[in-house]
């Protein structure tokens, strides 16, 4: 018998949460926003920011609200859905479905925790090896990092880690931090410049830094800018303009 009847007979009504893997690049390293849990279960453990979806909320809205509550700011950057986990075997209190999201953003400061808010902080991903997270958040984080690494290969998403204007060297630093590798500056420069629609010259250059000044670019027309908090968060929102892709080096 078909089970899409108007009144689901034995259908489960599940509590639904959103968890956010918020990544940024700072100090030359990939960092993730984590909170210290103040309540059971997993009290005192590190966890991804997140919480229950409220009635009348869309998923991106819930993700943005939780980020705002726990980091204290309206986060910029690119937000996309990552994957759904559950509902069994991931919360000791019972079945819970969680829709994980991925946020790629320029470094932004987190508000010091006020009163009962969970304390949020940036943690270097490479220093999390071995440390355990609450729930199944270690796996969700691993999936998010892998998604980010893969997306840099064939999309222009690396620019989501940069500000509005950036140099080719800053963009390269993003790739190096996310992939954990070193890239040849000259070859990277050639690929970035020669990819049509990737970078758009602003006409301005950096000033005051050490070494020769660098030309400033912004994200070119080929990429759909500002996927931001698009309520209809399209999966193909970032087109694959890097064709052929910029591949991460496999073996050293």
């Amino acid at each position: 018998m078909s089970s899409r009847d108007s009144a689901p007979p034995g259908a489960a009504r599940l509590p639904v949460t959103v968890d956010v893997v918020a990544l940024t690049v700072a100090d030359g390293a990939l960092q993730v926003l984590l909170v210290t849990r103040l309540v059971e279960p997993f009290r005192g453990a590190l966890a991804l920011p997140g919480g229950f979806v409220l009635p009348g909320e869309t998923l991106p809205q819930a993700a943005a609200r939780e980020l705002a509550e726990e980091a204290g700011v309206e986060p910029p950057g690119h937000l996309e859905q990552l994957r759904t986990y559950g509902p069994l075997g991931r919360d000791p209190r019972g079945p819970v479905l969680t829709v994980a999201h991925l946020l790629l953003a320029p470094a932004f400061g987190v508000l010091a925790a006020g009163s009962d808010a969970e304390r949020a902080e940036w943690v270097r991903v490479d220093e999390l090896a071995g440390r355990s997270l609450a729930f199944d958040h270690a796996r969700i984080l691993a999936d998010g990092v892998e998604r980010a690494r893969a997306k840099l290969e064939y999309s222009t998403l690396a620019t989501a880690f940069c500000g509005a204007e950036f140099t080719v060297a800053q963009l390269r630093a993003v790739y190096e931090a996310v992939w954990g590798t070193r890239l040849d500056p000259r070859n990277f420069h050639r690929k970035a410049i020669s990819t049509p629609g990737f970078l758009e010259e602003t006409g301005r250059v950096t000033r005051g830094g050490t070494g020769r000044p660098a030309v400033l670019y912004r994200l070119g027309p080929a990429a759909g800018r500002a996927a931001g908090l698009d309520p209809d968060d399209a999966p193909a929102s970032v087109p694959a303009v890097l064709n052929p892709p910029l591949m991460r080096p496999s073996a050293p």
Copy 2:
């Protein structure tokens, strides 16, 4: 205040469904399994097979059960999660969360609908242009097809459409059907053969067909075979062994 308390205060408990984009290649075309709805809403309309998640079920279990109920068979092939579609604005009865899945399988027969079961049938994707599906299933289907097209580029998933043993020409036919393009048989053969770990010779050849007999292959060791109904459906279950990828031709 943090909202991951043990008793969610105003947290929504949502009905959750799974919908399955089941794709196969038959008659040289990409086809999708659709059912005709027998109940409101969208009575009489075409829809993806799917239904409510039952208590105590995992998501892949629910997807497999719905497929079995509506197609009448235990489907083989590769099942993976596609994406979750938000609770708002997609079902006239109210908020419903649906976790869409993607099944890539060799052609299998669907049981003629028994009694009250919805009638399931294979429909060519290219003949669906313009026709509308129930709920937001048109968009889910589009996302699933796009995911399948993209995955063929850098993974060995095309073999999920084939049986245990197949020829290079059959594999090429899968690419041509999914991408809707023609590929040069000689260049495709070279790429498929020269990719390490992709194909493994069985030592046997086809018999009886027209033309020169072809060598039979099976999926090589580089790919994690049988992602099937893995309860812990890993997202990175299919490694990117096609490096550099096999790119679909862009513009003629």
